[in-house]
Symmetry: C3
């Protein structure tokens, strides 16, 4: 397993981690298979979406903040119940195909870490499973 | 493939299945790879989230019930249209890394079956794919 | 990697692609493993849900249109900010177990391409990873 950490700077923010995942694929030496990007946290998630225009990341954040607002209307009393729900709505991992040692993303796609309870230092785990 | 069943006791409920998935990993004998937990139903899903405080599971349920309420406003006439939509919002599988024969979850993470049209007996399928 | 394309005929629509994924599994010749269905777009997604009654697909579309409405309230100025957010809410890939050369879906499950910014010609990538 490859690992790296990232530092987030707001309570809720979407951060591009594509370059770091590409580095992990290179380090693995695996030419063909599947890359799993896994977030070992319960108030953060990961998604694949447009990277070119930063406003897409801002819109993802805004919609989730509106649908699952921060506040006192929840049972979980740590003030981050909304963060846990947002983590479930985005998901804890993404899977990307690897061919010829290269992560196969669509033209506009990037891999984006979704922070819902920052700012914090967070871990990202990457496992590349080679094809038989 | 490993399989187990669980019995849910309410229409909508979030149930921890981490122990049963850990048992499936052990049974497989695989030391390193990826574990896929797959739900073969269309009105239930699976997520990874906090397990320590049961209020997190209650909050996930409540938010989904509020965003996609049960009722007669849907086209699907079996009374469980909302359950199908909630299944799509949580997802039909999760992927977790396996190292040294152990499921690699973050400190607070558990694997949680999401029932949206219970009570029912449900199946969970687990496939562990070994690293080459 | 296997690939196929589909043509969507509306801005937002849910299209069954199960048959095409089954064909890709057959073409791969792999008998046991995991099938990853990956969407290389940022305004489309993929989900697993009921296929028998087409009203379920219509309800998934309607709920997402209501939760994340099309409009001018977003920062991304291309008119499809809602489409990007819906893509994150459904997800960019699904994982399905393969046994005896056959995709292991539950009785009522189908694999469904989710178009959020059509009509367009879209690509679907399929990777089957064999078990060791």
């Amino acid at each position: 397993m490859e690992r790296f950490s990232i530092q987030t700077d707001q309570r809720e923010t979407v951060v591009d981690i594509t370059g770091k995942v590409r580095d992990a694929v290179k380090s693995s030496g695996i030419r063909e298979g599947i890359c799993i990007v896994y977030i070992p946290h319960t108030t953060a998630g990961v998604t694949i979406n447009e990277n070119a225009d930063p406003s897409v990341k801002a819109d993802i954040r805004s919609v989730l903040m509106k649908l699952v607002p921060e506040g006192r209307q929840y049972r979980h009393l740590e003030g981050n119940a909304d963060s846990h729900v947002k983590a479930t709505m985005t998901g804890s991992s993404v899977s990307v195909i690897v061919e010829s040692g290269v992560l196969q993303l669509g033209t506009w796609q990037g891999i984006q870490f979704c922070e819902f309870d920052g700012p914090r230092t967070r871990q990202v785990w990457v496992k590349i499973l080679g094809a038989v």
